[in-house]
Symmetry: C2
Subunit: 301 residues, 2 copies
DNA sequence: ACAATAGTGTCTATGAGACAATATCTC
DNA sequence: GAGATATTGTCTCATAGACACTATTGT
């Protein structure tokens, strides 16, 4: 045991706390970045047809350097008097005027050069909001806040066997757009396995009009959405309290990026929903029952 | 647009970076805490029987205040010249002399009072190590490092319907022990849903002999292990390169906390493994083929 | 009447759980 | 030979995919 340790053990806990020097360690800035998603109704070209739905993310045009004029996730620094969760709620409210949403911490990004200003570690959160309540106002630090379509797609995948293990490389394209603006990024995800030891690593190859490492964050969030939509209740946070099963199915389709068969979908989600006695009419075709989420789902096990 | 913003936009990016004051925001300390798991062979009471396996976690006895004498996860602060991932690797090496392991970031814990010394935000990582390589040495800051059995179990679950939504409460007990020491904690997990808005919250009710909020971190890690064992390759990181299917099954059983039927298990994991032509003998019963992980698993989609 | 969605029924293929049966070793 | 695990086979049941069919609206 070192001399220092012996001395410290002789102190009472209070004495130790008094003496503790908070400046002994390097302290990076810590921020939160918000991935706010919604599913909107797009224009319908025919009065009979259902409107298509689209997955959208909120981005803010940066009014200041660095990345001035590019699009970024809403974000802000964590204060001394709030938890990270509280910071996420405050930042979301301040920058987008949104509160009362589903919130989930995703991942913490801490590469050295990710912010050119200083060492900033950023904790990303996913927020999901009901499509009918998405009237967003830009906060004071941002020139503009807009909803964007988001899509990711892998374009190439390669597995290489090495002496000690193997490497899996995957190239992914991220596309972000709306009527006026667009942004894209290309990323490479590398998974290396050598003698039991394993590592996964993302790299931004290109990033047009997207600030910081936010392309990585968006990709990560889309992945999480897809993974969780089947076995959690996240889809319901993207809809109003009452919804039709077709609407729910559209939300699943938009998140998973593929079409689903109605019969199978209905069977799969019966346990998650409760029928109400209300009906949606005036739709240009047969009306449909409205459902709501079943809180007792998942109450087994 | 504020006057400040107008002025900032007039600067070039370099001028802006030079002028940027890194001390403008509050900067908490950031640490990493490591959840190092392994699966060990326990004593067998009969030369014929297979040894039981057990899931274990590495804890370090705190040599200094706060929580002096209690057990804690290996951890350390993130330096200015390293990413969080690099800090995790460094801390693991320094405190437990382990390198070359599977590493995965779990969650970032940032409640105000979680460390009585100062505002510390901690990023937790899960590390998995082959059961045959678990000879661990304590680092210099720790009086002792030891493997502990870990188990969690929910003891009560309650759903309440409120005016605006519902609340699901779950009480969980965490038990940690080895031949000489033990620790326990009781936690409550509350999930609140009211008009679309949803929140999940953990609370430590009791924590005996376990430092900080590490009970929460352990619980979170166990949950993640259980969730991922079926659809990822994490189980293989807990075994040597060559293993029998019975050993692999035991790893699954220990993580999932329940017995599995051999026939169904073998069917389910055939795609993940490759048969070798080696055989394990001298086991007191019929010998078994040795398998290894199949790197081409998951290469579809 | 028509175009569209809403909702149900059914056949089939697949996979998991249960359990029986067989194989093969060490002591 | 006994006692254990290793490994395979098979029956059943639940579930997902595919697709056909019926129901019901607004225009």
């Amino acid at each position: 045991m070192t001399e220092k340790q012996t001395r410290q053990q002789a102190l009472t806990e209070q004495q130790f706390l008094d003496e503790y020097d908070v400046n002994r360690y390097v302290r990076p800035s810590v921020s939160v970045d918000m991935l706010l998603f919604t599913v909107t109704d797009e224009e319908r070209d025919n009065y009979r047809k259902l409107s298509d739905k689209a997955l959208k993310i909120l981005l803010i045009k940066r009014g200041v350097h660095p990345y001035q004029g590019e699009w970024a996730l809403p974000g802000g620094f964590v204060s001394a008097d709030e938890s990270i969760d509280e910071a996420a709620i405050r930042v979301l409210k301040k920058e987008t005027n949104v509160s009362e949403v589903y919130l989930e911490q995703l991942y913490t990004w801490g590469d050295i050069g990710r912010d050119p200003r200083a060492r900033v570690i950023s904790c990303s959160y996913m927020a999901l909001i009901d499509c009918e309540l998405y009237h967003i106002q830009a906060g004071e630090d941002a020139a503009d806040a807009k909803w964007f379509h988001v899509q990711d797609q892998w374009i190439q995948k390669k597995t290489t066997v090495t002496e000690k293990g193997w490497v899996i490389e995957k190239w992914v394209e991220l596309r972000i757009w709306n009527d006026e603006e667009s942004a894209t990024a290309k990323l490479k995800i590398t998974k290396t396995v050598e003698n039991g030891h394993s590592r996964e690593q993302q790299e931004i190859l290109e990033s047009h009009n997207l600030a910081f490492d936010h392309a990585k964050m968006i990709l990560y969030a889309l992945e999480r959405l897809r993974n969780k939509v089947d076995y959690t209740d996240i889809a319901f946070h993207l809809l109003p309290e009452l919804f039709t099963l077709s609407e729910l199915q559209q939300v699943f389709e938009v998140i998973l990026g593929k079409e689903l068969l109605a019969a199978a979908f209905r069977r799969k989600i019966t346990d998650k929903v409760v029928e109400t006695n209300q009906i949606r009419r005036n739709a240009g075709h047969r009306p449909s029952k409205l459902y709501k989420y079943n809180p007792n789902w998942n109450h087994e096990q």
